[in-house]
Symmetry: C2
């Protein structure tokens, strides 16, 4: 009897003895009402556990509090980790994150953007597939919703881009490898989906030439996102065929390196720096599993804390200002050499 059923904000305002518009104001910003009023509402909130109906709220607000987060592939622990970090930042900013994975396919990527359209997000953080992306459709979406790209850039799309400086990071590890042993061959996919792959390719050439070495590239075939499988299969073949012009291999990314290390192990090759080792392998990204390969993987870690933080900050600023960026901002963060056992 003492606690009547609260069905809506009207009821809630009634039991507490103030008007509904005031309560509405409170929920949009607790500090916009008098302190004493706020206390009363908060006290009532404890007793009656009322919560505004999200659908009614979002139907009437100019902006929802939803922020979309789209990553190319959640099955990749690398992206799962980034997604988790970004999710936390979005929550801290007072927004509601919606995580979607493109599962490596452009149709799913567009389907994700379509789903997001339906919920009218205040903004979207998008790590696109890259070359495989349907750029026209992504661009159309970014024209409708404030969108910030990260990880992989699509020229001119979105309000800003945050990623890694592949030229710097690849330069870093090439220099390290050359300084401590034979210059590396570059191990990569022939038709990579990610634009970073191309930048790393070019960065490798630039670094090798700068250091006065002749670049060598091993391009392996394979489609999709099963990089470990490709690294393993093609690594096995390359080793068997004795196609290695040097004892040092720099992989375009850690997942390829993980497959390659497995292939080397199965082929009986000892990888690492110790005596008896006939091969050095390095990667790029500092994948969560690169600490547990055999041997542990020397790589370049991306500054994902900065990328995540700046991406979210930028999007939040865009959302608050309610205007589009005057010019598209492209920011690249420096990689850090992470030396482990494999090179």
């Amino acid at each position: 009897m003492n606690d009547p059923k609260i069905r809506n904000m009207e009821d809630f305002a009634a039991v507490i003895g103030i008007s509904r518009p005031t309560v509405s104001k409170f929920f949009n910003d607790p500090d916009s009402v008098r302190k004493s009023t706020r206390k009363r509402i908060e006290a009532a909130l404890e007793r009656y556990e009322y919560r505004p109906n999200i659908y009614a709220v979002n139907q009437n607000r100019r902006q929802t509090k939803n922020v979309g987060l789209v990553v190319p592939n959640l099955t990749d622990p690398f992206f799962a980790g980034i997604a988790r970090t970004i999710e936390g930042l979005i929550v801290n900013a007072g927004f509601n994150p919606l995580l979607l994975s493109s599962h490596g396919g452009p149709e799913q990527e567009i389907a994700n953007l379509d789903s997001l359209r339906a919920i009218k997000p205040a903004g979207v953080l998008l790590a696109p597939l890259g070359r495989a992306s349907d750029t026209d459709q992504v661009a159309a979406f970014a024209g409708e919703v404030p969108t910030v790209l990260f990880d992989a850039n699509l020229d001119g799309i979105g309000e800003a881009f945050f990623g890694s400086d592949n030229t710097q990071s690849i330069g870093l590890i090439v220099e390290y490898l050359c300084r401590t042993g034979e210059p590396p061959v570059f191990f990569e996919m022939k038709t990579p989906v990610n634009p970073n792959a191309h930048r790393r390719h070019n960065a490798y050439f630039a670094a090798m030439e700068r250091l006065g070495h002749e670049p060598h590239v091993i391009q392996v075939s394979g489609e999709g996102w099963e990089f470990e499988e490709i690294g393993f299969r093609e690594g096995t073949r390359v080793i068997a065929e004795g196609r290695l012009p040097t004892n040092t291999i720099l992989c375009s990314n850690d997942r390829l390196a993980i497959g390659l290390l497995s292939a080397a192990f199965e082929s009986g090759l000892k990888v690492g720096l110790g005596s008896g080792c006939t091969l050095r392998v390095a990667g790029h990204d500092d994948h969560p599993f690169s600490r547990y390969t055999c041997p542990t993987l020397t790589t370049v870690s991306q500054d994902y804390d900065s990328i995540a933080a700046r991406s979210v900050e930028t999007l939040m600023r865009l959302i608050e200002s309610e205007i589009r960026a005057e010019k598209r901002e492209v920011t690249l963060f420096q990689g850090r050499l992470t030396m482990r056992g494999s090179a």
Copy 2:
């Protein structure tokens, strides 16, 4: 001029020349209107690309088309894979999946359920943390929303549970290990979060006794979900201290095994079946990375296609019938031995 702006269902119905309620009926079930009417609406849909406002729809419908999917940790590729499979099944069933990760923490798990409450889902698929879960709160949620548990069971909570038959699967690999070499020690965490860990522990004892061997257990300390780290650190210690009563180790799960294999490698131990190998290691789960460990990991694969399919089917039946299950269904699927290089 020819294509007026469509702002709502009223406008849309107007341009096509039929009434709004008919259009509304169409969107709820295209087959509920006359065939000719349906064609006309679909034709108009091409031209005007109108879509019903989700928030208005969900405010008025008795049930939303949302289905929550909560996994304990998306950073674990194992769960990321399952989540992906289940997401697809939910979409095929005509619902809208919402993926949330508990990040290994009970607070986040409850926060996830709270978020789901706000969107009034038609049903929820929950892989709970297990022992760490706040069972009272989870139970309260399952009392409000049709909930099906999978992967980890919480006694009496939810309408049904689908998981693996740990007794069978552990029995399978123990039998295999005993048949092909020395009986295994069981390598596990002292305070595991997952209830499956306990079942596997007991299953190991049962299997060993059945086969007439004395069970041995190595319990390692460590908190959280960084299983590889724990497996590596404690594996290194166990190897260094020479605490192994046999040359065969069965790990409670693949992630511990991945860490342990890395530890063995770093310690100079040769793992596998070939000559010169002094250790055998087996895991459980068929983790995506178990194909790329050195050596590749012998394990038991869970039948996750069946678990996913049956979980979704059951939830859909519950949602359609709009009544709760008369009795809680518990279904365990058989594991399959996956022999690779490590044992």
